[in-house]
Structures are given as structure tokens and as C-alpha cells.
Amino acid sequence: MMEKMIFGRFIPSDSFVHKMDPRSKLLFVFAFIVVVFLANNVVTYALLLAFTLFVILMSKIRLYFLINGLKPVIILLVFTFMIHILFTREGDIIFQLGFLKVYEEGLRQGIFISIRFLVLVFMTSILTLTTSPISITDGLETLLNPLKKMKLPVHELALMMSIALRFIPTLMDETDKIMKAQMARGSDLSAGPLKDRIKAVVPLLVPLFVSAFKRAEDLATAMEVRGYRGGEGRTRYRQLKWDWRDTTGLVLLAAVTILLVGLRN
């Protein structure tokens, strides 16, 4: 069950994109999300698509993983495409089926929106596929650091996130184990009416919570004994390094942005 979750999974490699600093990648993706909305004609959308394909190439990520990342949002994609096709009534009618009329502008908008969707999903997937969750956390912590002045507990949030990430595999194994143990005792999670299924979740959730609390308690003890008392006076072992790749990446995005502004209607 858990094994199939590929979306958001980090695939280690040594590509150009992998070697970039998480800060530059985060900035890149945030900026890209805005830039995408600049496109409004065939040339600009083609440019977006080409640029995305280029980034995919640079990341050396197999298309399989990107397509898989698309699966959860595919329904949304088809839905928005259909909405545009059916409700935009401009330009010539290019296709008619009974009372359903498909207009040229509708088709064009439908395709544009789908491309926008596609490039956004691809770019964010590339971020998570090429950056380990812990690096993303590091990047976010540094980028959000100025907010400390506004009393935002940036360090604590980042630590919470990194511990949560660290324990995900452990807790997944645990869930699997407890589920199997209860199934071996005749509990059935996958069959029967909804009421029974909800009841069958209790034997899974109670042990999981008990164990999670026990782990949290142990972890808190271990952290305290190892001298943890908040972010004050701490040094950082994980150092982030900004190099030519990061500058190149952002310059490239800036160039694409300028092109888009120039080429849009």
C-alpha cells in the first residue's frame, strides 16, 4: 500500500538540478508559479513547455516518475479542460455533437490551461524529486529566517518538520506491522459495510497513537539529555552553499520571463 506512493519521493542522482541549493530551487519554483501566468498565446505557451522539458532533461529524472506524480491530479486536469471546452463560446464552431458545440477559442483555452497545469505539476515534482525533504526544510528555514523578527518560531517549525520527516518511514512500517497483527487476529479492514470498517480502524489507531506518544517521549528525553534547549545559541551542521549553478538557474528563469513578457499579446 505505502510502497506505491511515488509522488513526493526523492530520487538521488548527481544531475545539475540535484546539485543546486535548495534555496535557489525553492525561489525558482515560487517565481515560476507566478511566471506561468504571463503566457497567453501559442508562442509563449510553447516556450513554457520547452523550458520545462529542458529542466526535466537537466534533472535526469525519468519520465515515469513525473507521469506518476501526475496521476493524483489527472482528474482535475481533465475536468478543467472539459469546462473550458464546453463553456467558452468564442470563435468558429469546429465541432458539433447534438447540442454540444465546441468553439475554437474553447479548445485553445482548454489546451492552454492544461499546459499551465502540466508545467506547474512537473516543476514542483522536479523540486521534490531532486531535493531531499530535509534539504527543503533547510532551505525553507533559511529563507524564512527574516521572519524570526516577527516572532515566528522558524527554527522550531523547521525542527518539527525535520523530525516528522525522519519518522515517516518508521511510522509507516509500524502502521503496516500493526495492521498485519490485527488482520492476523481476524480484523478485516478492507471488507464489509462502512460502519464495520470504521470500527476496524480503532484497533489500528489506538496502538499507533500509543506508540507514537511513546516514541515522542523517548525522543524528547534523548534530545534533552543531548543538550537541546531551543534554537538559542545553536550552530548549524547542515550548511547551504550557493554556487554558479544556482545563479545560472535563476538567470535562466529571468531570461525566460523577459522573453515571455516580450512575446505575449
Binding site: E3, I178, K180, A181, R185, G186, P203, V206, P207, S211
Partner: protein
């Protein structure tokens, strides 16, 4: 109840780039009422194999025979409940599966899932709590108020309450203190004998395998590489070493004595009692000759 694995292979994450085989062509027949130990290194496939004994995992290739039932790769396995009632599994650290408000309810959970009446389930719980060495008052307590060792016993009672014919034990004594370990292992052995159970012990402990098992199977890198009586298995130290396994402490000690005496004892001794007897016999004989 007989259990038989025929050419069983199992792969995790089938059909994704993460596909990884954990078992390769495993053949293993466990006749009814055998005490079968399965030993092997961490990652040898032990815990994957044990989940095949009651249909928690379905083979990717091959067949698993559980009594009359056959679970076959590629075919839908329906109605696994009867199998799960007959094959009870005590997982590693089974105390993690406790969830009910009282010990009594937790022990009754298994049997009631299999359609046993409430009265009967309660009767079993009252018998079993004593069998696992806890006072009857424990039944009304919350399992979470008990010590780790007591929780372990309650969890074991919960599995036994299903009245299984086959009992699968995955490192049942891990983390217990020496007395707890001995008590639990002896209890399972008594049950095995008295109730004519088929017992499958998955363990790291060569000592337990030597002491209790009729037959020992050795798992190595997903394959079942050896299966024989303890005497057969432990008389071949070289082969064991190849599978990165050690002889039981008692057998290693026997070797030291044999080296010192410069002669072999007449057999491989599997318990301390047996070895002491054998050494004293050799010495008496030696004295007789002088």
C-alpha cells in the same frame, strides 16, 4: 495442520521501479505437529516468509498450501479468515497490538472476530491469563497500565485465544529479561506438546532453535538453503559460517572441550544438560580403563 511452500517467490513493490524480491523459489514443508525453527540473518527473508503462513502476503510466484487451502500466485485469494483462525501469529513485540480498554476485552478480540460467542471467548480469556502466568485480576486492568513483560503475555494470550492449530512465533522473547525469556519459551513448548500444535519459531537465537526445534530451516538472501534436524544442522559449522551464522553457544563450547581432549564426543549436544552428561560419561569411561 500441514503447511507447504512450493517454489514461492515474493517481491515488494511489484510493478514499480522499486520492485525488490525478498524470497526466491522457497520450498519448505512443515508437517503437522512439527516444531520448526526458521533462522537467518536480518534481511534473509524470515519475516517475509512468516507472513505467507496465514495469507497476509500472497506469493508473487508459486503456491502456499495451508492445510486444505491453496494460495496461489496470480489467483484471487478469498475468505482468508478460516486460515487466519487456524494459524496464529505472535509478531515481534506483540505488545504493540494491544488496544482495548481492558485486558479481558483485548484477549477476546481475536476469537470474537472469528465468530466465537462472547461467553466462550471470556472463558478462554480466563483460562489463558493463568496459562501465560498472570493473575486473573489482570483481566480487568487496562493493558497500558501493565509492565512491558506483562503486556507481552497478554498479547500472547490474545493470539492463543483464537485456538489456532498452528502457532507462528517471531522473536517472541526479544527484549525480555532472562527469566521472562525462559518462561515464555517453556510455555510455548509445553503448549506445543500438550495440544499437538504445529509451532514455527522465527528467531535469531541458535540456542532456542537448538533447544526446542524438531527441524531447523536456514534462510539466506531470500532462499531456504538448508532444512534438517538440529543435529544435522549444527554438525556442519563450515556451512553455517557461509551463511554468516554461528553455532549455538553450547556447541561451540563442546568444540572447545573436544579440542582440549583431542577426541570427539559421540554426538553433538544441544543442551547444557546433555553436554554435562556426555562429558562425565567420557570421563567415567576413561577412569574405568585406567
Amino acid at each position: 495442520m500441514d503447511i507447504k511452500l512450493q517454489q514461492v517467490s515474493y517481491a515488494y513493490s511489484m510493478g514499480t521501479p522499486f520492485e525488490k524480491y525478498a524470497l526466491f523459489d522457497v520450498d519448505l514443508a512443515i508437517p503437522s505437529q512439527t516444531y520448526q525453527a526458521i533462522i537467518g540473518h536480518t534481511g534473509s527473508g524470515k519475516s517475509t516468509i512468516l507472513q505467507h503462513f496465514n495469507g497476509l502476503l500472497k506469493p508473487s510466484k508459486g503456491q502456499v498450501h495451508i492445510g486444505e487451502r491453496v494460495i496461489e500466485a496470480g489467483k484471487k485469494a478469498k475468505e482468508l479468515k478460516p486460515i487466519r483462525q487456524k494459524v496464529g501469529i505472535v509478531f515481534q513485540f506483540p505488545e504493540h497490538q494491544l488496544f482495548e480498554e481492558t485486558v479481558l476485552k483485548d484477549i477476546m478480540f481475536g476469537p470474537m472476530n472469528f465468530g466465537v460467542s462472547e461467553a466462550e471467548a471470556e472463558k478462554r480469556a480466563r483460562e489463558l491469563i493463568k496459562l501465560v502466568g498472570l493473575p486473573e485480576e489482570t483481566l480487568n486492568k487496562s493493558p497500558f497500565d501493565l509492565s512491558g513483560g506483562q503486556m507481552r503475555r497478554v498479547a500472547i494470550a490474545g493470539v492463543l485465544a483464537m485456538d489456532p492449530e498452528v502457532i507462528v512465533l517471531d522473536e517472541p522473547t526479544a527484549g525480555l529479561d532472562p527469566r521472562g525469556q525462559r518462561e515464555i519459551m517453556d510455555m510455548f513448548y509445553t503448549l506445543h506438546k500438550e495440544r499437538g500444535l504445529t509451532t514455527i519459531l522465527v528467531t535469531h537465537s541458535m540456542e532456542d532453535a537448538a533447544k526446542y526445534a524438531d527441524r531447523i530451516a536456514i534462510m539466506h538472501e531470500g532462499k531456504c538453503v538448508l532444512n534438517g534436524t538440529p543435529h544435522e544442522i549444527f554438525s556442519d559449522a563450515k556451512t553455517l559460517e557461509n551463511y554468516r551464522l554461528e553455532l549455538p553457544h553450547i556447541v561451540r563450547f563442546q568444540q572447545k572441550i573436544e579440542n582440549m581432549m583431542n577426541q570427539h564426543l559421540s554426538k553433538i549436544c544441544l543442551t547444557e544438560e546433555e553436554l554435562a552428561e556426555e562429558v562425565s560419561r567420557v570421563l567415567r569411561k576413561g577412569r574405568g580403563q585406567q
